[in-house]
Amino acid sequence: MIAELISQSSQIGASVVAQGSPAQGFVAQTFVGPEVNWFALSPMLALLAGALTMMLVGALTPTWPKGLYAMAAAVTAGTAGALAMVQWDDITDNGPTTLVGGAIAFDTFAMFLTITICIGVLLVSLLTDSFLRGTPNDGPEIYALYLVAAIGGVVMASANDLIVLFLGLETLSLALYVLAASNRRSIASAEAGIKYFVLGGFASAFFLYGIALLYGAAGTTNISEMVATFQSGVDLDNPNALALAGLALLIVGLDFKVAAAPFHVWTPDVYQGAPSPVTAFMASVAKAAAFAAMLRVLVTALPFFRDDWRPVIWVLAILSLVVGSFLAVVQTNVKRMLAYSSVSHAGFLLVGVEAAGHTAGEALPGDGMPSVALYLMLYSVLVIGSFGVVTVVSRASGNVDGDASLDTFKGLAKRRPLLALAFTVFLLAQAGVPFTSGFIAKFGVIQAAVEVESYAIAVIAMVAAVVAAFLYLRIMVSMWLADPDDGAVESDAAGTGISVGLSSGLAIAAAAAFTLFVGVFPGWLLDAAETVNAIAR
C-alpha cells in the first residue's frame, strides 16, 4: 500500500525533526508496517474491488448483456455506501480514530462524504446506462473510471495526511480527465478533456507545492502532527511565512477543484463539452470530494491559521456567488447555465466554510462543517437530477454532442410533463424554494454564517440566490410557457423524440423524491450531519 509507505516516511520525517540527527534516526529504525484494520477500510476496498473487477473481467469477457455494466457499478457503489453506514455505527459507538498509522481518518465526516459519493456514483451510473446504451462508447471503462474516481474522492474525504490527500486528489482528477474526454466521437468532449487536464495539472502542482512548503514549516505532512506542531511551536509575533505561502498555494489548488471564482474559468467549457452524465458526476462527486478536502486542510489541519485563511475564503465566496449568479443569467446553453450556477453554489458552500473558520479548532466547532457536509449531500443529489434531465433531453437532439441550448427545452411540459415536473423540482430546489432539499441546504449554511455573526456574507449570498433564481425561472419559462418546435413534436410523434429510458428515469425519479422528502423531513439528515464535527486526528 502506497499510503502506508507514505505515512511511514512521514513518521520518519517527524522522528528526524525530533531527534535532530537524521542518519542515526534512519538507521536505527527497522521497517514496521502499521497495523491495518481492513474492515474499517471496507468502503474503499469495495469500490476498488468493483473497479478492478470491471476492468479485468470486462476486458477479458465478451460484451456483457445490456445494462449489466451500469448495474455492476451501481451495486458496487451501493455496497460501499452500505458498508460506510456500518462503519458509521462503529464510529458513533466507539468514537473517531485514525487508521493505517495515522494516514486515514476514521470519523463520521469521512463516512458522511463517502455515503454522499456513493449515492452520486449510483445515480450517475444509472444515468450513464441510458445515455450510452446503443452507442459505440458503451463498455466497462467509463463505469470503472467512475469507481476509481470515487475511490479518489473517498480518500480525499478521509485523508489525515496531506500526501494521502494529494494521492486521492490525483486519483480523482486523472479519472475525471479521461471521463471528460470519454465521448470519442465528439470534438467538444476531447476539448473539455484537454482543457481540464492542462488546467487541472496546474492546480495539482500548486497544491503539491503548497504541501511542500507546509512540510517545510511544520516538519510533517500528517495532519494530527501538524496541528500539534503549530499549536506548540509557532511564534505569534512573527508570522510563519513558509506556512502562509503554503496555505495560499493550497487554497489556490483547492479552489480550482471546487470551481470557485476566480478559479472557475474551466467550469463552463468542461461542463458543456463533457458528456452530460460525466458533467453530473463532476458537479456532484468531484465537488463533494474537493470540498471535503478543503475542510480537511483548512478547518482540521490549519485551524491555527484560521484568521489568515478566513478572509480569503470570504472574498472567494462572494466572488463565486456574484460571478456565478450573474454570468449564469446571460448564458443560452443549459449546461453552461448549470455550470455557472454550480459556481454560485460553490460560493454558498464557501459561506459555510467561512462560518466553520470562525470556530475552527475549538471545543465547540459550531455548525459550519455540518452545514457544508449536508449541503454537499443534498446538492449532489439535485444536481445529478438536473443534469439527468439535461442528459435525456439533449440526447434526443440527435447530434453527437447533444444539444443543450435553451431552445431544446421549449415546451418540454407539453412533450414530457413528468420530466418537466421533475426538472422544475430540481430547479426550484437549486433556487432554494421551501419544501425542497435545496432550501434546507441553504438554510443550514446561512444559519451557520449567522450564528458566527457573518451577516454581510449571509445577506450577499441570499441576494445572489435571487439573481440565480432568474436563471432557473428562464429555464422554467422555456419549459412551461413556450410552445415546442414543430420538429420536436413531429419527432415525438414518430417515436424518435425524447426517450427517458428505464434506468435514467429511475435515477431522476429517485433524485426528485429525495429532494422533496428531505425538504419536508430533514430531521434525520440533520442528526447525522451534526455528528461530523467530531473529527479524528
Partner: protein, 594 residues
C-alpha cells in the same frame, strides 16, 4: 355551541408556547385542515382524469367551498374578548433547529383567514380560465394552502416557507394564464418578492440565534421569541429592517411597488383577485404580526419613515391611478393608495388605527377583489380593458353598472359601506399620534373619489358606441358570485361590531405590547374592553414604581399597568396611555367607531 367551545383551546399571548397543549385527542385540528385540505385538493385536481373536466372543476370547487365553510365556522366559534391565539396546535418538526409546526389564530389574522377562505371559491366560480383548466385549478388551490399557512403560522420558519412558497403557484398562474406581457410580469413579481425574502431569511435566523441567549435554547417560535427575547435597541433595529424589506415589497410600500401594476394587470382575473385580495395582506399582516410584535422598539423608532412612505404611497398611488388608460391598471394603482392607509394605521400605534388597519385589510380584499372580478367580466365581454374603448355601458347593462357602482363606492370609502369604517378608524386613530401625516393622507380619500368616479363616468356614462351597445347584462351566475361581495360590503358598512369585537382584543394586546417595550407615548383611548391608561414610572409615586414590573428597563421608560381592577389580567387588554404630562387617570377615552 357549547361542545364546540369545549373543543377550542386558548393560548394566552403571555404564556410561553411550551405550555401550549398539543391538543386534546378529541380536538379537531381545524387550522391544520385549513392548510391541508386545499393542498390535498390541489393534488387531487392534478391527478384527476383529463377527459372529465367537469369532474376536475367539481373537486376544486368542493375543496374550496369546504375551506370556506371551515373558515366561517372558525369565525363563529372564535372566542370573543380573548386576545391570545386560539385553536393553536404545536408539534415539533425539525428538532435540531428548534422549529415547530405551530399554528394559531387571533383577532388580527381571523378575518384574513376567512377572507382567504371565501375569496377562493368565488374566484374559481367567477371566471373560467381560457385554457388548461386542470393545472390552473391545481395551482390556485396550492396558492390557497400557502396563503392560509402564512396567516396561521406562529413559527418564524414555518411562516417563511409559506410566505415563500406562494410565489411558485402565483408565478405559474401569472405566467401561464395571464395577458400580453405575462412572462415579464411573472418574473418581475417572483424576483422582487424573493429579493425581499432574502433579507428576511437572514433576519429571522439572526433573530432566533440572538434570542437564544436570553431564552436559553434555539427556537423559531414567534410567541416565545416575542415574549422572551431581549434585543439591544440597535440589534432590534437591524433585524426589524431585515423583516421590513420583505414586507414592504409585498405590501407594496412606495418605492418598492413597481412590480404590482405589472403583476396585477397581467395576471388572469382570479390571479388578480387573489393577489389584491389576500396576497398583498401578507405584507401588512407581516408588519403587525412580526414587525410590531417582535421589534416594538425598532418599529417605534422608525415610524416616521413608514408613515412618510405610507402617505407618499397614498398620494402617489392616487395620482398614478388617475392617469391610467387601462382600467385594470387603474384598480392596481388604487391598491397602492389603499395599502398606504393600512400602513399609516399600523404605524400610528393606537388601538383604533390598528383595528382600522386590520379591518381595512379585509375591506380592501373584498372591494378590490370585486373590482378586479368585474373588470375581468368587462374584459371577457369586450376583450379590452382600455377605458377609452368603453363607454355608455350603464345604458345597456344597468344591473352590472349598479353592482360596479356599489363596489366602487366601497373602495372610495363612502359612509354606509365598509371602506368608510376602515378608513375612518385609521384616520381617527392616526390623527392622535401622527397628526400631519394624517392630514395629508385624508386628501387621499378625495383623490380616490376623483379617479374612481372619473373612471366610472368614462366607462359607464354617455351613449354606447356600436361595440358597447352589445354589452351583455350581468348573468345569473355572475350575480351569484357578486352577491357575497356586496353583502359583505354593506353589512360591514352598517354593522361592523361583530368584526371589531373580534379584532380589538388582539389589537389592544399588541398596542400594549408595543407601549410596554418602547418609549412611545400612546394616547389614551377607549375600546370595548374599557378605557385604559398607562402610568409612567418616573412620574408615578414610589409605590407605583415598585409595582411596575420588570418590563421597565433600559430604553423603555414607560411601565404599563392596568387602570382597571382586573390587574391580574394585564395581559389581555392592557393598556396604555395618558399623555405624558397629564397624570390623571382620566376615563375620557373616545368610544371607538361603531
Amino acid at each position: 355551541m357549547g361542545a364546540l367551545t369545549e373543543m377550542t383551546e386558548f393560548t394566552n399571548i403571555g404564556l410561553l408556547a411550551a405550555e401550549d397543549s398539543h391538543g386534546s385527542p378529541i380536538a379537531f385540528p381545524i387550522l391544520t385542515m385549513l392548510i391541508l385540505l386545499p393542498m390535498v385538493g390541489s393534488v387531487a385536481v392534478a391527478i384527476s382524469s383529463k377527459r372529465r373536466p367537469e369532474f376536475t372543476k367539481l373537486i376544486a370547487l368542493m375543496t374550496s367551498v369546504g375551506v370556506a365553510g371551515m373558515s366561517i365556522w372558525l369565525m363563529s366559534s372564535f372566542e370573543m374578548g380573548e386576545a391570545g391565539f386560539q385553536f393553536s396546535s404545536q408539534h415539533t418538526w425539525i428538532e435540531q433547529w428548534g422549529i415547530s409546526y405551530h399554528v394559531g389564530v387571533d383577532g388580527i389574522s381571523l378575518f384574513l383567514v376567512v377572507l382567504t377562505g371565501v375569496l377562493f371559491p368565488l374566484a374559481i366560480v367567477g371566471i373560467d380560465p381560457h385554457h388548461d383548466e386542470k393545472p390552473y385549478l391545481a395551482w390556485l388551490l396550492m396558492l390557497e394552502a400557502g396563503v392560509m399557512g402564512s396567516f396561521l403560522s406562529l413559527d418564524l420558519f414555518l411562516f417563511f416557507i409559506f410566505f415563500e412558497i406562494v410565489l411558485v403557484p402565483m408565478y405559474f398562474l401569472i405566467g401561464g394564464w395571464g395577458y400580453e406581457s405575462r412572462v415579464y410580469a411573472a418574473t418581475k413579481f417572483f424576483l422582487y418578492t424573493m429579493f425581499g425574502s432574502a433579507f428576511m431569511l437572514v433576519g429571522l435566523i439572526a433573530t432566533a440565534m440572538l434570542a437564544r441567549d436570553s431564552i436559553g435554547h434555539l427556537t423559531f417560535d414567534l410567541v416565545e421569541i416575542a415574549e422572551g427575547a431581549d434585543f439591544a435597541a440597535n440589534t432590534g433595529r437591524w433585524l426589524f429592517f431585515a423583516f421590513a424589506v420583505a414586507f414592504a415589497v409585498k405590501v407594496p410600500i412606495f418605492p418598492l411597488h413597481t412590480w404590482l401594476p405589472d403583476a396585477h394587470t397581467q395576471a388572469p382575473t382570479a390571479g388578480s383577485v387573489v393577489l389584491a385580495g389576500v396576497m398583498l395582506k401578507l405584507g401588512t399582516y407581516g408588519f403587525l404580526r412580526f414587525g410590531l410584535y417582535l421589534f416594538p422598539e425598532a418599529a417605534v423608532w422608525s415610524r416616521s419613515l413608514w408613515l412618510t412612505l405610507a402617505v407618499i404611497g397614498i398620494i402617489y398611488g392616487a395620482i398614478a391611478a388617475t392617469m391610467q388608460k387601462d382600467l385594470k391598471r387603474l384598480v392596481a394603482y388604487s391598491s397602492v393608495a389603499h395599502l398606504g392607509f393600512i400602513i399609516l394605521g399600523t404605524f400610528a400605534f393606537t388601538s383604533q388605527a390598528i383595528s382600522g388597519s386590520v379591518l381595512q385589510m379585509v375591506n380592501h380584499g373584498v372591494s378590490t377583489g370585486a373590482l378586479f372580478l368585474m373588470v375581468g367580466m368587462i374584459y371577457e365581454r369586450r376583450k379590452t380593458r382600455q377605458i377609452a374603448e368603453l363607454g355608455g355601458i350603464q345604458k345597456v347593462a344597468p344591473i352590472f353598472a349598479a353592482g360596479f357602482m356599489i363596489v366602487m363606492l366601497s373602495s372610495i370609502g363612502v359612509p354606509g359601506l365598509n371602506g368608510f369604517i376602515g378608513e375612518y378608524l385609521i384616520l381617527l386613530g392616526s390623527f392622535q399620534t401622527a397628526r400631519w401625516w394624517t392630514v395629508v393622507a385624508t386628501s387621499g380619500v378625495i383623490l380616490a373619489a376623483l379617479y374612481l368616479l372619473w373612471a366610472y363616468q368614462r366607462v359607464f356614462h354617455g351613449e354606447p358606441d356600436e361595440d358597447n351597445a352589445k354589452f351583455p347584462e350581468l348573468r345569473a351566475k355572475e350575480a351569484m358570485v357578486l352577491l357575497p361581495f356586496i353583502a359583505a360590503i354593506v353589512f360591514t358598512g352598517v354593522y361592523p361590531k361583530p368584526l371589531l369585537e373580534r379584532i380589538e382584543p388582539s389589537v389592544d394586546a399588541l398596542v400594549a405590547h408595543v407601549a410596554e417595550n418602547s418609549s412611545f407615548d400612546i394616547p389614551e383611548y377607549g375600546t370595548q374592553c374599557g378605557t385604559f391608561t398607562v402610568e409612567h414610572g418616573e412620574e408615578a409615586g414610589a409605590a407605583d414604581d415598585a409595582e411596575t414590573d420588570a418590563a421597565d428597563h433600559g430604553v423603555s421608560d414607560s411601565g404599563c399597568e392596568t387602570h382597571d381592577a382586573d390587574q391580574d389580567e394585564a395581559d389581555h387588554g392592557d393598556g396604555d396611555d395618558g399623555d405624558a404630562d397629564d397624570d390623571s387617570h382620566g376615563d375620557e377615552g373616545e368610544e371607538s367607531g361603531e
